[in-house]
Assembly symmetry: C2
Homo-oligomer: 85 residues x 2
């Protein structure tokens, strides 16, 4: 894959992955994740595992890294909700 | 792109897009989105717009559709939070 395109994908992946960080921080700060649906991080994780696999197929490191980090964040979110509620 | 791979991507995209739907439903039902951070859907939208562009570059309809729907869901989530809080 074109390196500049791969870089673009890496930036896109970094931003989507970072999107979960403020949610984790807010949850950590307020100790409240009641309004978050368990289904959201669960379904997103399943989808992102598939995206990760898609990244392997099309040989895109950007897609693999972004989705691996995304799954990690979703698991943390689920665990935080389990602990706080 | 290989049609079966494109189909795989479409399934992955459909699942990640659908991940936001239970959150929207829960928010609609409870009228509460207080614990949701505004930054999450905002940052995710920016990232997904970049993924959409990436999808155009690599000519992947799966990536384009998944991220367009994802951005739509994030905008709805932001608006719902604005209305309910």
């Amino acid at each position: 894959m074109d390196p500049s395109l791969e870089l673009f994908g890496l930036v896109a992946g970094a931003i989507t992955s970072l999107g979960f960080v403020p949610q984790l921080m807010k949850g950590y700060r307020t100790r409240k994740l009641e309004d978050i649906s368990y289904y959201m991080p669960t379904v997103l994780s399943i989808g992102m595992i598939l995206w990760f696999t898609y990244g392997i197929f099309i040989n895109s490191l950007a897609i693999m890294i972004a989705n691996a980090f995304g799954v990690f964040c979703c698991i943390v979110l689920i665990l935080m909700k389990k602990i706080y509620v």
